[in-house]
């Protein structure tokens, strides 16, 4: 055993050295979540062209990491050296702030809650919409099966849950109790509770289970694009939640890498007209009014409410709905 551990150590040292040797050029690591690959491929190309033109001396390279939002945040806590994070929900970046990786008030540092693009929760239904699903109320009609992942394990599913709650709560005469009754009825129509958004999509798309998938609008577009326009239709409900996937510089890492300036420039670039165009083309809703107007045909009109106004922010929503013993536990399949 002694011999092998010595060898292990030698190998670690060797590969550590080769890695240090190649890391000379300035690089920026953007730790993002699953479906942003094409978005950031375009954004990175545009940003690099601009940055490298004005900084010919030190060429920049951008690295991307993709995975489930919560898992990505966990990896950054465990030492994944992210200069910037672009995740699915503020709660995951709050977790980094709790560990002192960035300031507690990170979400106030960039415009629009540090979310340069938004999305919302829509319905993906089968071709021809055979169950006639138009709005949230149709989801709890007899015989309708709804596919959504488990909000305890999936960040995306928390948006779904809160969108459904908000719909019921904002109905005329809606109360907390009536909203609770609605989401309880809704989850009784869920035949399988997948652990993640991609698992749920596969259940619906590949395995053919269920009549409607609750999905992020941009992901519904992506799935439709990949699988052919004919197979599925996107239905926008009357009202839904404004999904805000935020971005932030991870101060502690950026300071260590000396990338603070470029990291900030990179995130600010997301708010420019050029980047907002890229954002709209990749099915996220742009923040800039002019770009939004240009792509208005692409995005259905619906009433949108925010997590801050309706639920008092992510920390409060997390505690009230998804913590152990919270609302989801009270109404969930186990109750």
């Amino acid at each position: 055993m002694k011999r092998s551990s010595l060898l292990l150590f030698a190998a670690v040292l060797l590969s550590g050295m080769t890695l240090a040797g190649t890391a000379a050029a300035a690089t920026l690591l953007n730790v993002s979540y699953d479906p942003t690959r094409e978005l950031y491929r375009d954004v990175d190309t545009a940003f690099l062209a601009q940055w490298n033109a004005s900084h010919p001396a030190d060429k920049l390279a951008i690295r991307m990491s993709h995975g489930g939002s919560g898992k990505q945040a966990r990896s950054v806590v465990d030492g994944l050296p992210a200069d910037v994070v672009t995740l699915a929900l503020a709660y995951d970046i709050d977790a980094l702030a709790d560990r002192g990786l960035l300031a507690e008030d990170w979400q106030k540092r960039l415009p629009d809650n540090s979310t340069p693009y938004t999305s919302t929760i829509v319905f993906l239904v089968r071709k021809g919409n055979p169950k006639g699903i138009r709005d949230w109320g149709d989801l709890i009609k007899p015989g309708v099966q709804v596919i959504t992942p488990n909000p305890k394990t999936s960040g995306g599913a928390r948006w779904n849950f809160l969108a459904a709650w908000g719909y019921a709560r904002k109905l005329p005469g809606g109360t907390d109790d009536s909203a609770k009754a609605f989401v309880k009825a809704l989850f009784q129509h869920v035949p399988v509770l997948d652990t993640g958004a991609r698992g749920a999509t596969n259940t619906f798309v590949q395995r053919g289970v269920g009549d409607v998938l609750l999905a992020w609008e941009n992901e519904a577009f992506l799935a439709q694009k990949e699988l052919g326009k004919g197979a599925f239709e996107i239905v926008a409900p009357s009202i839904s939640i404004l999904a805000e996937p935020p971005v932030a510089v991870v101060d502690k890492n950026a300071q260590k890498h000396g990338t603070q300036a470029v990291a900030e420039a990179y995130l600010q670039f997301l708010y420019t007209p050029a980047a907002q165009e890229i954002i709209a083309r990749n099915f996220y809703r742009p923040r800039l009014a002019s770009v939004e107007a240009k792509y208005s045909a692409q995005f259905p009109k619906l009433k949108l409410f925010t997590i801050d106004d309706t639920f008092g922010g992510w920390r409060a929503a997390q505690k009230r709905f998804f913590a152990d013993g919270g609302v989801f536990d009270q109404i969930g399949p186990g109750s």
């Binding site: 011999r3 092998s4 292990l8 670690v12 890695l19 030492g79 050296p81």
Partner: protein
């Protein structure tokens, strides 16, 4: 056997049983192995050969192939040396804790790969035992190549050692002792007597070790950090593309892994065909 063939009806039944068993195994293999393998290649080519080649030429794919090869090139020799050393110790020496060592060599087979990966995060991650010290000294293990190699070495640790231990046990140490008596040095004995005796089993073990090293998903997924072009091996690239709705791209990369598996199979079959006797010696005498 001759008893079975003594009477006609028994022989008929025997043949029926044989036919049924073979058919059952064939169907089982077709459904569980051939069908999925075919599906991988069909999906990979679903958008045509040009699109398939395009995926393979993308920098992410190329770097994932390179990284997979790099990890295997680092991990397999380590386990080759460790496997020979461990098999030697286990079969030629008596010492306290030998049974325990044997159990530890088998540990990676019984531990979930995800747990194996998490242990390294716990040890070397930023919140882990050695994380802060390593970080202060500028050493990166987790979410970098060293972490991938460590996890792969752990997962593939038993392959070479297991293959050799049973063979060397069966062969005994008489030939080696004879060599020493005739005046051979330790190294001479090893290279002229031991190595020729174990070479095919060693190659077989290395082959299996390599196949697993290139295909490992769970443990490397935990320690990789999924940085495109830097810490993403082929199995991880497959997962990431699948999660990004790039189904065809995922299957294209997966088909490369499939080809690798087929290649392993062919080399393994060649080995068994050419040197079957020496490998069989292990199976019959070893157990």
């Amino acid at each position: 056997m001759s008893g079975l063939h003594a009477t006609r009806p028994l022989s008929w039944r025997h043949r029926l049983l044989r036919g049924t068993l073979i058919a059952l195994v064939m169907v089982f293999m077709a459904v569980l192995v051939l069908l999925p393998l075919a599906a991988v290649f069909i999906e990979a080519l679903s958008k045509g050969v040009a699109a398939f080649m395009d995926v393979l030429a993308q920098p992410e794919t190329v770097s994932s192939i390179k990284l997979t090869l790099l990890v295997a090139v680092l991990a397999v020799p380590l386990n080759l040396v460790f496997g020979v050393a461990a098999a030697w110790a286990m079969t030629r020496f008596e010492f306290r804790g030998k049974a325990l060592l044997g159990a530890f060599i088998d540990l990676p087979f019984s531990v979930s790969p995800v747990v194996a990966g998490l242990v390294y995060v716990l040890l070397f991650g930023a919140q882990g035992w050695f994380g802060p010290w390593l970080s202060d000294h500028g050493v990166t293990i987790i979410f970098a190549v060293p972490g991938l190699v460590l996890a792969t070495v752990f997962i593939t640790l038993p392959f070479v050692a297991r293959e050799l231990i049973s063979l060397m046990q069966a062969q005994g140490s008489e030939e080696e002792e004879a060599a020493r008596t005739l005046g051979a040095s330790g190294w001479q004995m090893f290279f002229r007597v031991t190595l020729p005796n174990i070479r095919w089993a060693l190659l077989y073990g290395v082959l299996l070790c390599n196949a697993r090293a290139m295909g490992e998903f769970g443990a490397v997924s935990v320690v990789s950090g999924h940085i495109r072009g830097l810490t993403t091996t082929m199995p991880l690239e497959v997962e990431m593309r699948y999660n990004e709705y790039d189904y065809m791209g995922a299957f294209a990369v997966a088909s490369l892994l499939g080809l690798l598996a087929l290649l392993t199979l062919v080399v393994k079959a060649l080995l068994e065909w050419r040197y079957g006797d020496e490998l069989a010696a292990r199976a019959t005498r070893g157990h």
